[in-house]
């Protein structure tokens, strides 16, 4: 079959792929840049835990659900008020952020890495290996992630690591499927055939060609995964099956929100809003990243 492309024979303007100045990329993607700024601010906020406020996250300083900008027993200023046990919400928010971010970054990192490897190998090997791996992936995909995570955390213990491993399992199935289908398309492209014709070994094809070309997909999967992991961790902790009190997490800060809402709406609003803002910022960055990396928008003009 003859294929005539509509693109002209002219030489595209010279713009090295990864060397475009960062500021230009940011200017072209203002929403992504905004997301990045929000994320940096939030990270600074979290990293300043212990400096920003003089309080301890597990000390009762006031009565139940003290309102925002109120004073505690010893006349401390509680900027965001107190929680159901009268602990400083602001301080807790900062400490909880650490847990959320550690889990939010580690779980998808683990999951996407594993998913990428499984996806590429499954696509490249094909045959029985692919068939079997994909059946297991089918099962992983059909299990609601939170439920799977509950079972796994139960096994591994309700620790940060338990939650990380449990949540990474959710990512493995989905990401390996996406990477597999991408790698499958890639491995049928002629450049992979060319490498084989040159005598490249399977390992070389996987590491020099398929893996680098799947990185964009994996990176986007990772950013999506961060938002999802932060939300999922919050969900688990909210149910009391994730990070255990007194260690604060954005999720477990909400556990008693329903009961204490009447005393102060901020208990329910602040942690949830924080999660929403973080996830929103991550999504903005993820969307721009997708635009930047999307092969459809690149190259062929």
């Amino acid at each position: 079959m003859i294929t005539v492309r509509d693109s002209s024979e002219t030489v595209p303007e010279r713009t090295p792929r990864f060397v475009t100045p960062a500021w230009r990329t940011l200017r072209k993607h203002p929403t992504g840049a905004a997301g990045l700024v929000i994320l940096i601010l939030i990270l600074l906020f979290i990293l300043s835990a212990g400096f920003l406020t003089p309080h301890k996250y597990d000390r009762t300083l006031s009565g139940k659900a003290a309102p925002m900008m109120s004073r505690g027993f010893d006349d401390e200023l509680l900027v965001l008020g107190g929680d159901e046990l009268g602990r400083d919400v602001l301080t807790r928010l900062q400490h909880a952020g650490r847990t959320s971010f550690v889990i939010g970054l580690a779980a998808p990192l683990l999951g996407v890495t594993l998913g990428t490897i499984i996806g590429i190998v499954s696509a490249y090997r094909g045959g029985v290996v692919d068939l079997l791996v994909q059946r297991v992936v089918d099962v992983l995909i059909s299990l609601p992630g939170l439920v799977l995570a509950m079972a796994v955390t139960l096994a591994l213990g309700f620790s940060v690591w338990g939650v990380i491993i449990a949540l990474s399992l959710n990512v493995v199935g989905g990401s390996s499927r996406v990477v597999r289908s991408h790698a499958l398309t890639q491995s049928q492209l002629e450049y992979v055939q060319a490498a084989r014709a040159l005598g490249a070994s399977d390992l070389r094809i996987i590491f020099r060609h398929l893996l680098p070309n799947s990185m964009a997909v994996s990176l986007v999967l990772f950013t999506v995964g961060v938002g999802a992991a932060i939300t999922a961790e919050a969900g688990l902790s909210f149910l009391g099956l994730g990070v255990q009190p007194p260690t604060p997490s954005w999720g477990n800060m909400l556990t008693f929100a329903q009961q204490y809402f009447r005393f102060g709406a901020h208990i329910a609003i602040i942690p949830g809003l924080t999660i929403a803002i973080v996830v929103f910022a991550i999504n903005l960055v993820g969307d721009s990243l997708r635009d930047i990396l999307d092969p459809h928008l690149r190259g062929r003009g």
Partner: protein, 334 residues
């Protein structure tokens, strides 16, 4: 009065900080019942110019910046959207390059064939279906009753292009614009489709605008040829003019680039060096100057005027006449 007159048509595409001058002032016409070709390589603006006629340019980013497209004297560019709609397929119909993607995959052939007739000619569903049946027979599809109920994926490439032709014929237009109608088809099917189009348009007295990158195809089917390069028409003439007395260096280069089945020396090709210019950064002078063998100083600074070589034959080249004499002097073409 010609059936269709295009005058100084300009269609630009606006990017972030670039303007792609896809069609940069082209003028040509088509007489009633005539077959005319618009020839050029990919990216020269030939498809954009044909889509501009019916206002089918994707907009944004595309915009018709200037010019007139007169159909029997009416400037189509001045029409409102709903007036323009009435010209589509009723007066001017189109056949596109990719029969694979030009038919809607989830709608059956009957609906795709009848909907135009129902909208444009006010036929009832029954009448339109009867006509659809006839049309399929006309374009050489056997067992039309069964075929009507089928979906595009059940047709081969050649058959889909026949369906496209049936759709184009359905409202009895005065002009059919065929944009690379055979490019994605196999060689033996190409001949079938082109022959079919020629026969059907001749029988019905329809004019045909054949847009193609293949100068060879044109020789067999058309009366007049317009050659486009980088957004402009650089040579226009009758079929014999173009093939026997090419007067633009680009046309000559193109003729020398076509692998010919009737010549057998192994290296008779004489390619044009270099690449076409970037349409967003066109030179001030002749667009072809950079690749031209006959280039003179003037070419770099000033876009050539159209030189009338013979009454029906013109060329946008400062050296039009000498180009032809050089061509004629080469033994292989004598």
């Amino acid at each position: 009065m010609p059936l269709l007159e295009i005058e100084d048509l300009k269609t630009y595409f606006y990017g972030d900080d670039t303007v792609v001058k896809a069609v940069d002032g082209i003028t040509y016409d088509i007489e009633e019942g005539e077959t005319v070709a618009l020839v050029g390589e990919s990216g020269c603006g030939k498809s954009v110019s044909s889509l501009s006629i019916l206002g089918l340019i994707p907009s944004p980013p595309g915009r018709i910046v200037d010019g007139e497209v007169r159909f029997r004297g009416t400037d189509l560019l001045q029409l409102s959207a709903s007036e323009m709609r009435r010209y589509r397929s009723r007066r001017i119909a189109m056949v596109f390059q990719e029969p694979m993607s030009s038919l809607n995959p989830v709608i059956n052939i009957e609906t795709q064939l009848t909907e135009g007739m129902m909208t444009q000619l006010g036929l009832t569903k029954r009448q339109a279906s009867d006509r659809a049946l006839e049309l399929l027979e006309t374009v050489g599809i056997s067992d039309p009753e069964r075929r009507l109920k089928q979906f595009p994926h059940e047709f081969s490439g050649g058959m889909r292009q026949r369906v496209m032709i049936a759709i184009a014929l359905s409202c009895e237009p005065d002009l059919i614009i065929a944009d690379e109608p055979t490019t994605s088809l196999d060689v033996t099917i190409q001949a079938q489709i082109l022959d079919l189009m020629q026969t059907l348009t001749r029988e019905r007295g329809m004019a045909l605008l054949l847009i193609t990158h293949n100068l060879g195809v044109v020789a067999r089917y058309v009366e007049r040829i317009n050659i486009m390069y980088a957004g402009r028409i650089i040579e226009h003439g009758s079929s014999t003019d173009i093939f026997e007395k090419p007067s633009h260096p680009y046309t000559v280069g193109l003729l020398n680039s076509i692998p010919r089945i009737d010549r057998d020396t192994r290296s008779s090709l004489d390619p044009i060096p270099g690449q076409p210019p970037d349409l967003s950064r066109l030179p001030i002078g002749c667009h072809f100057a950079e690749r031209c063998r006959n280039v003179i100083d003037r070419c770099e600074n000033e876009y050539p005027h159209t030189v009338v070589v013979e009454p029906s034959h013109s060329s946008a080249c400062w050296a039009a006449v000498s180009v032809f004499s050089d061509y004629a002097a080469q033994p292989s073409h004598a």
